[in-house]
C-alpha cells in the first residue's frame, strides 16, 4: 500500500473546504493559456479557468449574484446567476462555472428570466418580515434583486410567523435567522476567511439553517466578534448589536458630558454611506456633524494610537533588551500587537498558551477610555461619573472589548459605547445632516491631535509602520531611512508579509542593537493569523521581533463595522485615503505628538511602561480556550487565570 496523502491534506481542510482546486490535474492548467468564449454574441478570450461570471464582467454584462462574494470561495448555491451554456441541458451557475473549453453562453433568455424570478419568489417565501421594518432596508441584495426582476408579489406564499426568533446573546452580533436566505457567505467567511468556523449549516432540506456551533446562541461560542459575516450578509439576517438609542439618550441628557473619539478607518469610509466614492476621507466634516449632533467633545483616537506606539514600542524594546542583554529566557519574542480585539479573542481561544507574546498595551480605544475618565476629567474638573465615553470604530469586536470586565481602570467602565461606522451614519441621517456638504472643523482640545503614524493604524501594516518610525528613531537617533518616512516594505494587501530592517548604528543606550536586523511580520484576517500562529508553534518565528496582526482583511479599514459592501477594491481605496492623508499631517511620528509629550510630562510622569501607565494603559488577557460564554466571563473574571506578561 502506498503512502496516503491524508495527514498533510486534512490540516488544510478546515480552511479550504469548498475551494476546490479547479482542474488541478489537467495539463492545460499548467500552461496558463487562454480560451475563447462567446457571451451574448460578444466574443472574447479569457485565461483558462476564468468563470463565466468573471468573463461577463469583462464585457460589462451584468449577471445577478447573491451567494457570490469577491472575498470568498465559490458556493454556487443560490442559483440566481444561472445562464445557458450551449450544449448543456440544464442552466449553469455562472459564478462557479470555470471556462476550460470554448463555449457559447447566453445570459438572458425566457427560461433564465423565469428561473431567476422563481428563485427570487422562493427566497422571499421564507424571508420573514417586511422591508420597511428591516435594518438593511435600502441596502439589501435580495430587495434589489426583487426590484430588478419585477418580483412584486409573493407568488409562492410568504411566511407569516418567525421560525427562529432573534439571537442577541452576543455583545457584538445579532443573528436574525428569519431573514436568512442560506447563501452561506457567513459560513464561508467564518471558516475560510477568518479561520474561526463557528457557523455551519445544520439539518437538511427545508429544515436547513445556519447555526452557531452545536446550535448554541452566538454569545456562547468561540466567535471573535470580528463582524466579517455581518459585512458579507446580503440581507438583514446578521447585523451589529446597536447602541444608537443609548448614545442618543446620553446626548439628550443635559447632566451627561458626552465625548466621542473617532478612529481613522471609519473616517475614510463613512462617506460611502452618503454616496461619496470609496476612499474619500471626511474627517473634518465628520467633526462638524458630531458637534452639531450634540456631542460635547469630539476627540481623535489617533492621540491614543500615538500613546499605544509609545507604550507598545517601549515594551518591545524592553523585551528585546531583557532577552539580549539580561539574557532573561522568560521574555517572549516576537511580540504581537494587541490593538485588534478580534485578534485578541482569537488568540485567547485558539492559542492561549502563546498569550505571553501579545503586547500588554491596551488598544487605542481602551487607552482613550482610561485617559478620558482620568486625566481629561481631572484637568477639566469633570466628574468622571458624568462622562459618557463613546467611540466611533470600524469594528464590531470593539463593542465586546469595551465590555471586557478588566477594562475599567479609570474606576468606571472606560468606554461606554462603541458605535460602528454604519451606526454613526444612521445617526447622522436621523439628524438630517448632509455629511458631504458640511463645513470642515477641527477636533477639540486637548485630545484632538494625532500623528500620521497613528492615522495609518487603519490599514494593515500601519501599526508596524508607526512602530518602526518611532522605535528606529529611539534606537538610532535618526529617522527611518525611507523616502518621506513611508515604510513601504510593510504596506500592501498580501495576507502575510514580512520585512527586515538593519540597524546600522545605535545610540548609547541601545548600542547592543548595532548591527542587528529587526525582523517583522504582518498578517490580516484571522485565517492568516492562524497560519502565523502555526509557524510560531513550529518555532519558525524565533528570530522575529514584532508581528502585527489585524483580525479583519485589509486591517481596520476592512472592519466588520464598515459600510456594506466592502470589497477588495473598496479596501484598496480606503487604504489610499489613509496613506495620502498621513502625508499631509504636521506630525508624522507618534513621539512627535505634542499632546503625547504633555501627558508624559503632566500625568504619566514616569514615562512609558511605568507603574501608572501599566495601571491605565496596559491590560491582561484570559486563557479562554473553549470557555465560551462572554457574559459569564464578567462573573468569572476574578477566578479565571490572567495571562500576559508584566514588565
Amino acid at each position: 500500500m502506498s503512502k496516503e496523502p491524508f495527514s498533510k491534506e486534512t490540516s488544510q481542510e478546515s480552511t479550504s473546504r469548498k475551494s476546490q482546486d479547479v482542474n488541478k490535474h489537467t495539463a492545460e492548467s499548467a500552461l496558463g493559456g487562454t480560451v475563447k468564449v462567446v457571451i451574448d454574441d460578444i466574443e472574447l478570450s479569457v485565461p483558462f479557468g476564468t468563470t463565466i461570471l468573471e468573463a461577463a464582467k469583462k464585457v460589462n454584462i451584468k449577471i445577478p449574484t447573491l451567494c457570490h462574494h469577491e472575498d470568498l470561495c465559490l458556493a454556487g448555491v443560490c442559483r440566481i446567476c444561472v445562464v445557458e451554456v450551449e450544449g448543456q441541458r440544464t442552466l449553469q451557475a455562472s459564478c462557479s462555472y470555470p471556462i476550460f473549453d470554448p463555449i457559447k453562453v447566453r445570459t438572458h433568455s425566457p427560461r433564465i428570466r423565469r428561473a431567476r424570478k422563481n428563485i427570487i419568489s422562493l427566497l422571499l417565501k421564507n424571508h420573514y418580515g417586511e422591508c420597511y421594518s428591516c435594518k438593511k432596508n435600502g441596502n439589501c441584495e435580495l430587495q434589489d434583486l426583487a426590484k430588478e426582476y419585477g418580483v412584486e408579489d409573493y407568488k409562492f406564499g410568504h411566511i407569516a410567523k418567525p421560525r427562529f426568533g432573534i439571537d442577541d446573546s452576543s455583545y457584538a452580533i445579532v443573528r436574525d435567522m428569519d431573514k436568512c436566505i442560506l447563501c452561506k457567505r457567513c459560513v464561508r467567511t467564518c471558516i475560510d476567511l477568518q479561520g474561526v468556523g463557528v457557523l455551519e449549516s445544520e439539518n437538511r432540506g427545508d429544515k436547513t439553517k445556519i447555526a452557531a456551533y452545536m446550535d448554541k446562541p452566538m454569545g456562547e461560542v468561540v466567535c471573535i466578534n470580528c463582524g466579517q459575516c455581518v459585512n458579507r450578509c446580503p440581507t438583514g439576517a446578521l447585523r451589529e448589536k446597536t447602541d444608537i438609542e443609548k448614545v442618543w439618550d446620553a446626548i439628550d441628557d443635559p447632566d451627561k458630558h458626552v465625548v466621542i473619539q473617532t478612529a481613522p478607518a471609519p473616517r475614510a469610509a463613512i462617506g460611502e454611506e452618503f454616496g461619496l466614492p470609496a476612499g474619500t476621507s471626511v474627517t473634518k466634516k465628520l467633526n462638524t456633524a458630531l458637534k452639531r449632533m450634540g456631542f460635547d467633545k469630539v476627540f481623535d483616537t489617533n492621540f491614543t494610537a500615538d500613546l499605544t506606539i509609545m507604550e507598545e514600542g517601549t515594551e518591545l524594546l524592553l523585551r528585546i533588551k531583557k532577552a539580549l542583554v539580561e539574557k532573561d529566557a522568560s521574555v517572549k519574542l516576537p511580540q504581537f500587537t494587541s490593538c485588534s480585539p478580534g485578534w485578541v479573542k482569537f488568540i485567547e481561544h485558539f492559542y492561549p498558551e502563546k498569550l505571553d507574546h501579545v503586547s500588554t498595551a491596551k488598544s487605542p480605544q481602551q487607552m482613550f477610555g482610561a485617559v478620558v475618565k482620568t486625566w481629561y476629567a481631572e484637568r477639566n474638573n469633570i466628574d468622571p461619573k458624568k462622562i459618557v465615553s463613546v467611540s466611533l470604530m470600524p469594528c464590531t469586536a470593539k463593542k465586546f472589548e469595551c465590555q471586557r470586565p478588566e477594562m475599567n481602570d479609570s474606576g468606571l467602565q472606560d468606554v461606554d459605547f462603541s458605535l460602528t461606522t454604519r451606526e454613526l451614519a444612521q445617526m447622522i441621517k436621523e439628524t438630517g445632516l448632509d455629511l458631504p456638504s458640511l463645513p470642515a472643523s477641527d477636533f477639540d482640545d486637548p485630545l484632538g491631535i494625532g500623528s500620521g503614524a497613528a492615522l495609518i493604524f487603519g490599514a494593515t501594516g500601519g501599526v508596524m509602520e508607526a512602530a518602526i518610525r518611532t522605535a528606529y528613531e529611539i534606537v538610532t537617533g535618526e529617522e527611518v531611512p525611507f523616502n518621506n518616512l513611508n515604510v513601504t516594505p510593510v504596506r500592501g494587501m498580501e495576507g502575510i508579509r514580512e520585512a527586515a530592517l538593519p540597524v546600522t548604528k545605535a545610540v548609547e543606550e541601545w548600542k547592543f542593537l548595532e548591527g542587528a536586523t529587526l525582523k517583522v511580520m504582518i498578517a490580516h484576517g484571522t485565517a492568516n493569523a492562524r497560519e502565523v500562529m502555526e509557524m510560531l508553534c513550529r518555532g519558525e518565528l524565533d528570530d522575529y521581533h514584532f508581528i502585527e496582526i489585524m483580525a479583519c482583511p485589509g486591517g481596520c479599514l476592512g472592519g466588520g463595522g464598515q459600510p456594506i459592501p466592502t470589497t477588495p477594491e473598496i479596501r484598496e481605496a480606503r487604504a489610499r485615503a489613509l496613506y495620502s492623508e498621513d502625508e499631509t499631517l504636521t506630525y508624522r511620528k507618534s513621539h512627535d505628538n505634542p499632546v503625547v509629550k504633555k501627558i508624559y510630562e503632566e500625568f504619566l510622569t514616569e514615562g512609558p511602561c511605568s507603574k501608572l501607565s501599566h495601571k491605565l494603559l496596559h491590560t491582561t488577557y484570559l486563557d479562554r480556550g473553549n470557555k465560551i460564554d462572554p457574559r459569564q466571563t464578567k462573573m468569572n473574571a476574578q477566578e479565571a487565570k490572567p495571562a500576559g506578561t508584566h514588565h
Binding site: 458556493a75 440544464t90 423565469r114 428563485i119 422562493l122 409562492f156 442560506l182 449549516s201 437538511r204 436547513t208
Partner: protein, 391 residues
Amino acid sequence: MCKRQGPVIFSDIDPLSGLKKALNMSRIEVVEEVRASNIRGRGGAGFPTGVKWNLAAAAQAEYKYVVCNADEGEPGTFKDRILLTEYPSLILEGMIIAAYAIGAQKGYIYLRGEYKSLKQEFERLAEEMRKAGTLGEKILGKEKFNFDIEIRLGSGAYVCGEETALIESMEGQRGEPRNRPPFPVNTGFLGYPTIVNNVETIAAIPHIILKGSDWFKKIGTEKSAGSKILSVSGDCGKPGVYEVAFGTTVAEILKLAEAKDTKAVQIGGASGTCIGESDFNRKIAFEDIATGGSVIIFDKTRNMLGAVENFLEFFREESCGQCTPCREGIPVLLEGTAKIKSGECSRGYLNDLFSLAETMQCASKCGLGQTAPNAFLAVMDNFKEDFSIKK
C-alpha cells in the same frame, strides 16, 4: 442461496477470471474494452463508463481513487443490496480491474449506512484476498500494481448517492454536491482523480473483460448495451430483483412480476417517471425509459396524487438544502399537490407550479433537485382523472 439467472451479471463466471484476463492486457486495452462495450453508468444518469475511465486514466496525478457507489437509496431499489450480499467478490474484482485501468492505488466502497451489516463480510473477504495475493501489493504477482480497498459507511443521506456529495461525505464534510466542473475524474476525493461507479456497473466489468465487448453489445438495444437489474415492488404477485436485457418492455416486466390491474408504474424511483397503461409497451433503455432500477407498481385502487405526495415528502427530507430551487421548491410543490388534492388549485397556480418545476429541473445544482419534480409532472400529465383543477 438460490442461483439467480440473467444475461450479464447473473450469468456464469469463474471467480477472478475477469481480473486475470485484465492483468494480461495493457491498461489502455482494458479501458478500450470497457469503452467499446458501450456500457453506461447503472446508477441512473447513464454516463458512459469507458469515457469516465479514460478521463481518469489520462489524468496525471500522484494518487487516484476508485469508489464503488453502494449508497443505494432510491425509493424502491434494493438490487445493489442483493449484489452486495450475494456477489461481493465480483464487486471487489470489478474494482480491482477499474484500479488497474486508471492507475489507482486505493479504492473505497461507500456503503449505505443501513447496509452496515455487510461491512464485516466485505472486510473478511478483502483480508482473504490479501492473503491470497489478489488484493494489496503486487496483485496476482503483477509488478507495480498495488491496490487496496476500504469500506466506508454513509449515514443515511440519500443525496450522498450523488457522486460529488459522496466524495464530500468521504472527506468528512456535510454531504453536499459540489460544483461541476471540475469533475471527480479530474478533481475528486481529496482533490485527486476519482472514478465513482455504481455497484451494478462494477459488477458487470469482470464479465465484459472476460467475455468481450462484442458479447456485451449483443445484449440489449443498439443504444443501450447490456442488461439492467430491476428492483420490482408494489402491487404485484412476485416482487423481487430481475436482470433483464435493455429493450425489455414494461408490459413484459409486469408479466414477470405477475402484476394485475396495473394502473401506473413508477420507474426510476422517486426521481423517475410515472407512466400509465398506454405507455406499457415502452422499453427500459437509455433511449426510452432510463432507470436506476426501481420499478414500483400501482394497481387501480391507488390515487396517484398520494404517490406524488409521498415522493415529494421524501425529497423534502433528503434535499441537502444548499441550493434554492431544490430546498425551497420542493415544499412549494408539496403544498401545491395538497391544494390539487383538495380541489383548491386554480389553473393559474398550476401554471406557476409548472414554471417552478421547470426551474427546479434546469437550475438546481444536482440531480436530486433536477429530478424531484419528475413524478409530479408525470402524474399531472398522465393521470388527469385523479384530480380536478378549479376553473
